[in-house]
Symmetry: C2
Subunit: 234 residues, 2 copies
């Protein structure tokens, strides 16, 4: 049986590291894309955060083409992102610019990677946010960026998006992930409502095997209750 291959965009974040480990433990070839290398991956592509959007795309596309050496990816997972608050009264563009770079640049570059290197029947997963389905006046830049990711997902799930045939493009919307940082900053929260990283990593692995796949173009909420996580299509 041939090796399966995944690219994890944001492979040094908490969720990204969990994905890299889980795919590696299941004998996938794993490429990590982030500002810093992930030593657990088979190959790490480091992004220069000072480079332009277009140059970042060019650099990532060239690096993954070299690393794949003619092979195809079976999955592209973008779990890069960030958060910034703020309304329109002060430095809106600064917050919006940061959110755009962290969530949208990474998502479109992942889409470009998928369009150019995904095998037919592969999948692309992006990361959205439930809050952005409505207005987000206290975090305007964040909401705009995530709304753009949602709409990008709908585009990629439509015919003639440029993705290979039978591929799936979806966005996941976690509520709160059970990460060390979240435990540190919200020490008194109810952790049984937080989504374990292992659940998300296993879900991606299943999709990679062609199991339990949602419809392409879906925006998926991950709701965790009593430590059980369920997927709901918006």
């Amino acid at each position: 049986m041939s090796v399966s291959r995944v690219l994890i965009y944001g492979g040094r974040g908490a969720l990204g590291e969990a994905c890299v480990s889980h795919f590696k433990a299941n004998n996938w070839w794993v490429a990590s894309v982030d500002l810093h290398p992930n030593e657990a991956a088979d190959t790490s592509i480091t992004v220069n955060s000072e480079a332009s959007w277009v140059d970042q795309e060019k650099n990532v596309l060239e690096a993954i083409a070299t690393a794949l050496a003619g092979e195809k990816l079976n999955a592209v997972v973008c779990v890069a992102g960030g958060w910034a608050g703020g309304n329109a009264a002060k430095e809106l563009s600064k917050a919006a610019d940061l959110m755009w770079r962290q969530s949208v640049w990474s998502s479109t570059i992942s889409a470009s990677v998928a369009a150019n290197h995904l095998a037919p029947g592969g999948f692309l997963a992006l990361t959205g946010a439930k809050a952005a389905l409505e207005g987000t006046p206290s975090m305007i830049g964040y909401g705009m960026a995530k709304a753009a990711v949602h709409q990008l997902t709908k585009s990629l799930g439509s015919e003639f998006s440029g993705l290979p045939e039978n591929s799936m493009a979806v966005a996941i919307m976690p509520i709160t992930l059970d990460t060390p940082m979240n435990r540190k900053w919200m020490a008194n929260a109810d952790f049984t409502t937080w989504t374990p990283l292992s659940f998300v990593a296993e879900m991606f692995l299943k999709w990679g095997k062609g199991q339990d796949r949602p419809k392409s173009g879906s925006i998926l909420t991950l709701i965790t209750k009593n430590s059980e996580t369920q997927l709901t299509v918006e």
Copy 2:
């Protein structure tokens, strides 16, 4: 009766010029923001397209503060924008970057101007696109940018967005505007389904007078049939 004041972002585009003229003809003080001055306006703020998002915001905020000399705006209208096609297969980030600059930078800077200089009870109008309510696989960057503008509008129409009290923030979604360029490129189209620029300019003027205002946060479709235009709330 005191003078009313409006800022038109994109005051050198076809719709922008129509708005500048119409407000001027109705004795408003008019500021135009664009890459080039609009001589018909009371003041023109020129944007350096090479400057960063944050710097463009800073420069426009400083210039309008100077021009207003302590007065307030009654309306901020953003009709800047552009269009680019393309799916995920080729140079997605290039198209997305251009669309972001043309539609989203202009919209967030207009929101910043409104948050800082709009009088209570004033209004902000942005420009969205009906197509972006769904996936737009053949124009992915455009769809993302307009989806972000729609979500921005919902944020600005919510409490604590930073806009002054009793103000209104909406986005208009024209289908096809009756401009000289559109007549040139689509010479055989049915012009009776195109929205006249004068209709849009008069609608803004009415909102400026406090007449026929839609609910804040609304995304509004402009549908023209038999040369009659109707406003529908999405």
